[in-house]
């Protein structure tokens, strides 16, 4: 659920703001509105203080402790610790208190330090100077003193201190340029507009005289949405209301560019600004590994509780006879005796829980956390995923999903900018069926009209001529391209292009830039937008001026944009360009047939096509349109919807002019990547907003569809002829027949499905008869399952997310990955299990919202096949090994209870109990989980089929888990009974010849425990060593180092009488044990026996049923024999590849 909303609500209610309303009214300059207007309600808003810190000096300790103990691992430790403090338990409270204290302290110090840094950063932000207009003068004040309603003056290159509404700028047209690099990473300059009525206030005094209020919505995190209204009060007149939109809102964090200074009024301050609202963390994604980990944990919790229960019950059964309960040599204390038996039983149960609590590998959470955090650095460090052009490598936004990269079954990819370069090039245009190709123009020289255009079709009549000119003008006018003049760039460059005013175009859409540049090559140059007039240099080098009246912005639902202009001749013209499907239905005249044919042909070649149409407006029409637009724009509620309606009414009765074709080249190695993903067993779906033919062509080019692929179509075109029902059943029959046949011949056919957005929404539409809709969904999924590739075209952003959701919820619950580069992919990126953003040309929104961001589509291959595979292998081993080593650790203690009268006598010494998970066995597995490479990176890249080996969480399934647990139980039995027979059957004694002469000494229970523990530590470490396939010098160092550490620690621990310790039970125990021959012999024997079954299992499985990975392992070493120079520290990536 959305916590930010909840938090807002709570904070509001707590603050006692009973006049909580859906919109806020801001009084510019804190001036009351004139009488007669709404009552002046002074509202309280937070000041502009940014508080990113979490703690203050006073609440740090309690709040931090509370936060830390909310984590289940810490809480579990705390519970155990408290139980140990309260009741008499076998192990001292130190065993759990010390690690707990350590973890808590370290975390607290870390968080305290981070918070101190945050305090510092906050202070520097809050105290940075801001210019505020007060009573006609500019007053310098500190940022945090800013209040809603203050009029702020910002200069060039200053960053806005809060969310502001632009009132006026030093530029004449009331615009200002802003870059939002720090917000969304888009470096292009964006234009923001002042309301025409306030544009004129150029000085402090003027601004101060402004009397207006702003009504706007309450703060919400969407950066690109804002709805508001400004009411300007002039003496005597009625207030003027003007709509405010996102184009008037300057966001905190954005920087003013190319504008000398602006005046703006603060509307959202402090924690209300869109930037701070956006820093709330996204919803958490959990990986499949984490889910299985939790399932295993529950199993172990059950084991723990049942162990404790069994032991408690047996204890009381055994103690039934008083000889056992209280033999003469071992009396209870009086207090103990007086206790009620139920209380005694309960404390016994708790004591057993404490004794066995280590079976829940609490340290696993810490290790997993560290593994994920540190491991994700390898992704960011990978130079193969670094893009020179962009100057950036892969980015990891969350480290929680590393292993999920190795589990992907479905890949949903965007087309434009993801599969393709999004580097548009104008190829041709077609006016009424006549094709123009600008390549004929040389050197970008503007030649005379006739010769410059290579006409395929001839005979341009007068009528045609007129259309041609309109077409070119339409393309020059109907866009939102900005002209960036060279003067902002350094002067040297200007020197080169002497005289000729060079400029380049900037737009959020590369298509538009390509089109405008294409027009330039065809002779029509868009010069600039000046005073709401667009200037065009036409073929005859004349400047034509059009007054720009309205821009009907592009949106992905409408899939078109329009402008309304007034020509110098006073004609009102509406130019519209958009996708063919959205234009053709609105066309009333023009050579539709010819254009359509050309468009379809171009689309087949994989070109992006746009249709251009116009409508001539009479004055009446225009005024009506104006009215509709301003009505919609002024609306505070449902503005979007009303705008869409207005657009729909205005954009009709078109005359078709022609079509354009723009090429978007495939990204490098896109085809290779898709092929690898296919081989790796992933299903690749392309979800695009493009038209079907274009998308299909791209799919063929990127080898998503091969020549042999049989294409199934599920499109509007087909469903028009047949009912959806029939089509679906038809297709499923085809697919299923193939499947029944393919039992004989494997994969003779592969199918590709093409579906369009409209049909999809029909398939997914929940119809009143619920059974029917469910059926469609199921059939659709069934068809998809049998297709190797699916292409969804004409998709709205939300539909992309719907598709992802549909697949996610299907009965196999496959792991999905979505990759895209644009804002329209954000919804699917957030929806999929793993979201990958491409740092593309369409801004950084996708990359910001993704879990991982990569520069290019081709990097996906290494990301999944190499990093994903490695991380999965690593974490799977980490999880299984942790459970294994704790079974080995605790099960002997459980068995020992049967031999010590169920008295909770621990087998191991306190120090061993405490340090086993912390230091003796922690580092090797952490290191393994960071640098294990079971096969080389080259092999993984060369052979994508290896990915299938880890698919579907194969290393963490129940049988594997059971195997590890059984192995743990077996080893534990070997440790315990091995030692038991040595101690019980005969005297396990030593003649101690190493120490003293001819003395035969007896070994007690601590020696017994130490023997078991020594075997245990060595066995679990060797087990990991056996699993390690990649022995770097670090592995050697850590594995042998931790064994050595164990030995040294034991020698030291038993070597002296420890002061301040009330028991000396380990004194010389370890050394005495080592001085006895049989102890050595039995340690060697027990380790061998414990490792034997695992080795045999491994060898047998490898020989008899080898997996693809194992085959790759056994074939590769003979090819890529690496020198076993273990201690070579030098870099060696000069290794030749084979």
């Amino acid at each position: 659920m959305d916590f930010s909303v909840l938090r807002n609500l709570i904070s509001r209610y707590c603050a006692g703001e009973e006049y909580w309303v859906d919109s806020r009214t801001v009084y510019i300059g804190h001036k009351e509105p004139p009488l007669g207007a709404d009552a002046y309600i002074p509202q309280r808003y937070p000041d502009n203080r940014i508080v990113s810190s979490k703690y203050t000096l006073w609440n740090f300790i309690p709040k931090n402790l509370f936060e830390q103990f909310r984590r289940i691992a810490n809480f579990y430790f705390l519970l155990i610790f408290l139980v140990q403090l309260i009741i008499d338990t076998p192990t001292s409270p130190v065993t759990s208190g010390l690690p707990l204290f350590f973890v808590i302290t370290v975390t607290a110090i870390k968080q305290g330090y981070e918070d101190w840094l945050r305090h510092k950063a906050d202070r520097s932000i809050n105290e940075c100077p801001v210019d505020v207009v007060q009573e006609g003068t500019v007053v310098r004040t500190q940022s945090h003193k800013l209040r809603v309603g203050d009029v702020v003056m910002a200069r060039e290159d200053e960053t806005f201190p809060c969310d502001l509404i632009l009132l006026s700028s030093s530029r004449d047209d009331g615009t200002c340029y802003v870059t939002t690099t720090s917000l969304d990473g888009e470096s292009s300059h964006k234009t923001y507009y002042a309301v025409p009525d306030t544009m004129a206030f150029k000085t402090e005094q003027e601004v101060d005289s402004l009397h207006a209020t702003i009504e706007c919505e309450q703060p919400q995190p969407d950066l690109y949405k804002f709805v508001g209204r400004i009411n300007i009060y002039k003496e005597s007149e009625d207030p003027i209301a003007r709509p405010l939109g996102a184009e008037n809102l300057l966001l905190r964090g954005a920087t003013l560019k190319n504008t000398e200074r602006i005046y703006a009024v603060a509307i959202y301050t402090g924690m209300d600004t869109k930037m701070t609202l956006n820093y709330q963390s996204k919803s958490q994604k959990r990986s499949a590994v984490e889910k299985s980990m939790n399932a295993f944990l529950i199993v172990y919790l059950c084991i723990l509780i049942s162990k404790a229960v069994i032991n408690t019950v047996l204890k009381y059964a055994w103690q039934w006879s008083p000889d056992h309960d209280e033999p003469w040599y071992n009396h209870r204390t009086e207090i103990d005796r007086e206790r009620h038996v139920v209380i005694r039983a309960f404390t016994d149960f708790l004591a057993f829980m404490v004794l066995f609590n280590y079976i829940i590998p609490v340290s696993m959470y810490v290790t997993v956390e560290m593994q994920k955090f540190l491991g994700s650095y390898f992704i960011a460090w990978d130079k193969d995923m670094y893009d020179e052009e962009l100057g950036e490598g892969a980015q990891v936004n969350t480290s929680d999903l590393n292993e999920e990269l190795g589990q992907v079954e479905y890949v949903f990819t965007d087309k434009t900018g993801t599969l393709t370069e999004n580097n548009m090039e104008f190829i041709e245009c077609c006016v009424d069926g006549h094709v123009y190709i600008p390549h004929a123009i040389c050197n970008g020289q503007i030649l005379s009209a006739a010769s410059s255009i290579d006409m395929i079709d001839s005979s341009p009549g007068g009528y045609h001529r007129e259309h041609e000119e309109l077409f070119f003008r339409a393309l020059c006018l109907c866009h939102t391209v900005q002209v960036k003049e060279e003067e902002t760039v350094d002067s040297i460059k200007r020197g080169i292009h002497q005289g000729k005013p060079t400029s380049f175009y900037i737009s959020s859409s590369p298509d538009e830039v390509a089109l405008v540049e294409g027009m330039k090559r065809l002779g029509y140059t868009y010069l600039r937008l000046k005073d709401r007039h667009m200037e065009i240099l036409n073929k005859d080098d004349e400047i034509e001026r059009f007054e720009l009246l309205h821009v009907l912005n592009f949106d992905s639902v409408r899939r078109r944009m329009s402008v309304i202009v007034k020509s110098s001749a006073g004609e009102y013209l509406l130019f519209c360009k958009g996708a063919d499907s959205s234009i053709f239905p609105r066309v009333v005249s023009g050579k539709v047939g010819q254009v359509r044919a050309r468009v379809e042909q171009n689309a087949l070649e994989g070109l992006r096509t746009l249709c251009v149409a116009y409508r001539s407006l009479s004055l009446v029409d225009y005024e009506e349109a104006c009215h509709q637009l301003s009505d919609a724009k002024l609306a505070l509620q449902d503005r979007e919807q009303r705008l869409a309606q207005a657009y729909d009414l205005i954009e009709r009765d078109f005359t078709l002019l022609g079509a354009t074709a723009v090429e978007d080249r495939l990204q490098e190695k896109a085809a290779d990547t898709i092929e690898s993903l296919h081989k790796a067993g992933m299903k690749v779906w392309v979800l695009t907003g493009d038209k079907m033919e274009t998308a299909a062509a791209t799919c063929y080019a990127s080898k998503l569809f091969r020549r042999s692929t049989q294409i199934l179509e599920l499109t509007k075109k087909r469903t028009k002829e047949q009912s959806l029902h029939d089509v679906l059943f038809d297709l499923s029959r085809t697919v299923l027949r193939q499947r029944s046949l393919s039992g004989l011949s494997v994969d003779c056919h592969d199918y590709g499905l093409i579906i369009d957005g409209a049909t999809l929404s029909e398939v997914l539409k929940p119809s009143p008869e619920s059974s029917g809709s469910g059926n469609y969904r199921e059939i659709f999924l069934e068809i998809c399952r049998n297709c190797s590739a699916v292409l969804c075209c004409r998709m709205a952003p939300l539909q992309k997310a719907q598709i992802v959701k549909l697949i996610k919820a299907s009965k196999e619950h496959p792991i999905t990955l979505a990759i895209g580069d644009g804002a329209n992919d954000v919804s699917m990126i957030l929806e999929a299990h793993v979201g990958i953003g491409i740092m593309g040309k369409e801004g950084r929104q996708a990359a910001r919202n993704s879990d991982y961001a990569i520069p290019k589509f081709k990097h996906l291959k290494k990301m999944l096949l190499v990093h994903g595979h490695f991380y999965y292998i690593r974490i799977a081993e980490l999880v299984q090994y942790f459970f294994y080593k704790n079974v080995c650790f605790i099960f002997p203690q459980f068995l020992y209870q049967f031999f010590c009268g169920f008295s909770q006598q621990p087998l191991y010494d306190t120090a061993y109990l405490t340090l086993y998970n912390i230091s003796f066995t922690s580092l090797p597995i952490l290191l393994y989980s960071l640098i294990e490479k079971h096969v080389s990176i080259e092999t993984l890249k060369r052979d994508p089929t290896l990915y299938r080996d880890v698919a579907k969480n194969s290393l963490l399934r129940w049988p594997v888990f059971l195997y590890w647990t059984c192995l743990g139980l077996f080893d534990a039995c070997i440790f315990f009974f091995g030692a038991y027979f040595l101690f019980d059957n005969t005297t396990f004694t030593s003649n101690g010849q190493l120490m003293t002469t001819n003395t035969q000494m007896m070994f007690g229970n601590w020696t017994f425990g130490t023997l078991v523990f020594t075997v245990l530590v060595f066995t679990v470490t060797f087990k990991l060593a056996l699993d390690t396939h990649h022995w770097t010098w670090i592995n050697h160092f850590v594995i042998w180092g931790s064994l050595l550490f164990y030995v040294i620690f034991s020698l030291l621990w038993g070597g002296i009488i420890w002061p301040f310790l009330n028991y000396q039970r380990m004194y010389y125990v370890f050394m005495q044990m080592l001085s006895s021959g049989p102890a050595w012999l039995s340690i060697i024997l027990l380790i061998t026996v414990s490792l034997l079954p695992d080795v045999v299992k491994k060898v047998l499985c490898r020989t008899l049923w080898p997996t693809a990975t194992e085959r790759a392992q056994s074939t590769c070493p003979c090819l890529t024999v690496e020198p076993s120079t273990i201690f070579v520290l030098s870099q060696s990536d000069s290794r030749l590849s084979f």
């Binding site: 936060e67 396939h1029 012999l1081």
Partner: protein
Amino acid sequence: MASSYNAKEEDGHVAVPGGGTIQNKKPDNTAFKQQRLPAWQPILTAGTVLPAFFVIGLIFIPIGIGLYVTSNNIKEFEIDYTGTDMSSPCFNCSQSFSWNSTRPCTCALPFSLEQPFESNVFMYYGLSNFYQNHRRYVKSRDDSQLNGDTTSLMNPSKECEPYARNEKMPIAPCGAIANSMFNDTLDLYYIDPNGTRIQIPLMKKGIAWWTDKHVKFRNPGGNPNLTSAFQGTTKPINWRKPVYELDTDAENNGFINEDFIVWMRTAALPTFRKLYRIIQKKNNMTPTLPRGNYTLEVTYNYPVRSFEGRKRVILSTISWMGGKNPFLGIAYITVGSVCFFLGVVLLIIHHKYGSRNNTADIPN
């Protein structure tokens, strides 16, 4: 449940490793960062494991045989003197036991050795069903008191309860372990063929760990006069004599009495034996214990009937590998054979399947 553990979540902001901080920076091309550290890449295949199995088999079997033979050469004699049987000489003593009896009950058990015991003979007492490893029991001691700390001597640790004080007087040594110290006296007589009883000299020193005797256990206060050193303390309830009268030898008295130290090392399992005395070999000519008849004289002080325990005396020689221990030898032989057998099985499998795999898998 445990799933809610997430450091970043609680920190309130997402850690972005390598994110914004190292933008516009090319990753270092080091072997570590590119995960290309030179490495040894062993793989457990039948081919590589085979020799290891044979080697293990070949090493373990001889060791096992050696151990087994050694263990078999060790002579061991065990006699149970609990006295639960009517026929047993100690029956009366075991029946008429009372803590307060001033006159010790003695009994004599005759036995004969079929074979002579050649080298040093170790004499053990063994107890069964005695839970020295019970938690309440194990911790019922005060190591600092035993280390000669005078404060602890007067104020025994709480762990010793309910054996810490007796009528307000601190008990030295305190605790259940000390209180239940084994106090039977065992004497061994050799019956000459001509009928005379010869007492066999039993050495009571050198039976405890050297470090225990010299470091871990110390008498309080460096005072040579133990009686005054233990002034103000009382003996454990079940003891007949105070701790400073355990032996007449000053080097083996008080806390550093070796019988006491041996007893204080709690056994791992409920059936255990502890070293009692050593019979040293006199010279090379005569065996330490020649074959013939013997009598074990027991001063029966230690009650075990109440918890159905058994008391035994064991006479044993030892070897380089300790006492009689057939288990280790058998285990070695078994494991060695299993390894050898597995080696053979793997060899067959390797020949049948291994070659097929290897030829089939060379990538084209």
